[in-house]
């Protein structure tokens, strides 16, 4: 009787362990310094003080290459740092993470939870999710602020700008880092304060966003 009980207990705990979800946190930095949304920080490379008012993006939960059918998405809002993570489960070897919501989800998924259109990440005029939204200003040390708002989206031809991260060797200590240096340099050099619809500019912008991600440590 006792042996049976121990056996069942072992089975039960191993099932629990198998179902346990790990999380992959996402950290926002500018080169080696943490960035907080709503707080001004200094960039010596751009010789400017920068304020990020809003930074949100969609990341898919990690999936394996042959299993891209039913993706789930998480809305990451850097205004709430503790919520900046994506769960994953039972994954080994190479995995992919989408930056942005793919066309299948745009067309078919129920508009609920993280895909709720009330989050401010949905284009009602042309149904579709905004993959990545950043709003802020370069303060230039002068009285004039250079404001920018990049709402990068697009999921259908010819403006599909969803990007994929490919990640190997994910461990329990791993985290994703989003380094704003490249993106903010790009925005500053573009001289274009707004990108608010799908198109060539949004696609280029998303490529820069993709290059800003890296897996640490």
């Amino acid at each position: 009787m006792r042996r049976k009980f121990v056996f069942f207990l072992l089975c039960f705990t191993s099932i629990l362990k198998a179902q346990k979800r790990d999380t992959l946190s996402i950290r926002l930095v500018y080169n080696s310094s943490f960035v907080e949304v709503g707080k001004v920080f200094w960039s010596k490379e751009l010789n400017d003080s920068i304020l990020i008012d809003k930074l949100q993006l969609y990341l898919s939960l990690p999936y394996q290459a042959g299993n891209a059918e039913k993706k789930e998405y998480r809305l990451i809002n850097f205004a709430s740092a503790k919520d900046c993570f994506i769960p994953f489960q039972n994954l080994t070897s190479t995995i992919k993470i989408d930056i942005g919501v793919d066309s299948l989800t745009n067309l078919n998924a129920p508009l609920i939870n993280d895909l709720d259109p009330t989050t401010g990440m949905y284009w009602t005029w042309q149904n579709g999710f905004i993959h990545f939204k950043i709003e802020g200003s370069f303060n230039s040390g002068n009285s004039k602020k250079e404001q920018f708002q990049y709402h990068l989206g697009g999921y259908s031809y010819p403006n599909n700008s969803v990007q994929q991260l490919e990640i190997t060797a994910l461990s329990s200590e791993s985290f994703l880092e989003l380094n704003l240096f490249t993106l903010l340099t790009y925005i500053k050099k573009q001289g274009k304060p707004d990108i608010l619809s799908p198109g060539v500019d949004a696609m280029e912008g998303m490529k820069v966003v993709k290059s800003s991600f890296s897996l640490k440590p």
Binding site: N106, L107, L111, I112, P117, T118, N127, S156, Y157, V200
Partner: protein
């Protein structure tokens, strides 16, 4: 046994007359499921007719999509929203939406349940937001119970609001015109209508294909752009030069109710429409994204109009199930 087989055969014949019980067998299979939950449909109908969706509680969906006009807008060439703000297009007719994959004149929306968000948020239309709409619905006396009937509890969220509206719209099926009666062998065309039908098949069917009388695709039709509006159509969505001035091909059903015509309502009657196509076809310059190249005579025009009038579906227009819901519950 013989009787059983006869009864079975009779049942099969009956079923084959109407696909799925709600549309004719010669209709293609709908791209989206027709609604089955009458409470969701009723809730959607209530919302459709309720100006609570707009910022100043003055404009409902039915303000531009009038049921007596095939759910199109006939007051003006260009539809208007709150505070009489004028838009740049004429609100299209709403019926047989379950057979469509693109919505709006430029195909900007490709899922019907998300479509309602566009006018709700458009400052020229309802000027509100789905968040505001939800707050108002939550405060209302009647809606929580209607949401409970439809969805099982009183929670009101954006998904339920837009799903309900879409369910009502999916139920707007128009398939009882004279043309449909002819297809079902119940009546025959007159001589002129038959001539018009033959001409229609020759000149118009490639874009306005039977039995829905639209291919559901986008196309240009050599309409010169109005300078004041400079509406680029599908190009504004895709930025592809080949999509310049391309608009969704509308269905030709219920034309007597859905004037004025074209995306900007510039033609107030069918004669003007056919005059336009007659001018392109007779100019010999061919087309802009169309296939109309064969000449149309004045006699042809009259015959085509006679046929087009056979596509009117008075039963759909006056269906009490689609009109303003006076009752409180389904």
């Amino acid at each position: 046994m013989k009787r059983f087989i006869l009864v079975l055969l009779f049942a099969v014949c009956l079923l084959s007359m109407k696909g799925g019980g709600t549309y004719p067998a010669y209709f293609p299979k709908p791209l989206q499921k027709l609604p089955t939950n009458k409470y969701e449909v009723f809730l959607g109908r209530k919302l459709f007719y309720d100006p609570i969706l707009s910022e100043d509680n003055s404009i409902s969906c039915s303000s531009c999509h009038s049921p007596y006009n095939g759910f199109a807008h006939t007051d003006h060439a260009l539809s208007h929203g709150i505070y009489d703000k004028i838009g740049k297009r004429n609100a299209p007719a709403l019926f047989n939406l379950a057979w469509q994959s693109l919505f709006m004149w430029d195909g900007a929306i490709n899922r019907l349940d998300a479509q309602a968000l566009a006018p709700i948020h458009n400052p020229l239309e309802m000027g509100s937001s789905i968040q505001e709409v939800i707050k108002k619905l939550q405060k209302s006396e009647k809606y929580p119970s209607l949401f409970k009937l439809a969805f099982g509890d009183t929670a009101i969220n954006s998904n339920r609001v837009i799903t309900a509206i879409a369910q009502f719209e999916l139920g707007l099926v128009s398939c009882s015109s004279k043309y449909d009666s002819v297809r079902q062998g119940k009546v025959q065309f007159s001589v002129q209508e038959k001539k018009g039908y033959d001409l229609f098949k020759k000149h118009c069917n490639s874009c306005h294909s039977e039995p829905l009388f639209t291919s559901g695709k986008l196309s240009g039709n050599a309409l010169p752009a109005l300078e004041l509006l400079m509406d680029l159509g599908r190009f504004s969505i895709t930025k592809l030069p080949s999509d310049s001035f391309c608009f969704k091909i509308p269905s030709l059903r219920n034309l007597s109710y859905t004037y004025p015509y074209m995306h900007d309502g510039r033609f107030s009657n069918l004669n003007q429409v056919l005059q336009h196509y007659q001018a392109i076809s007779n100019s010999g310059t061919g087309k802009v994204n169309t296939v109309i190249t064969k000449p149309i005579s004045n006699e042809d025009k009259a015959d085509i109009v006679a046929f087009l009038l056979c596509l009117n579906d008075r039963k759909f227009i006056f269906n009490p199930q689609n009109l303003y819901p006076k009752e409180e519950k389904p």
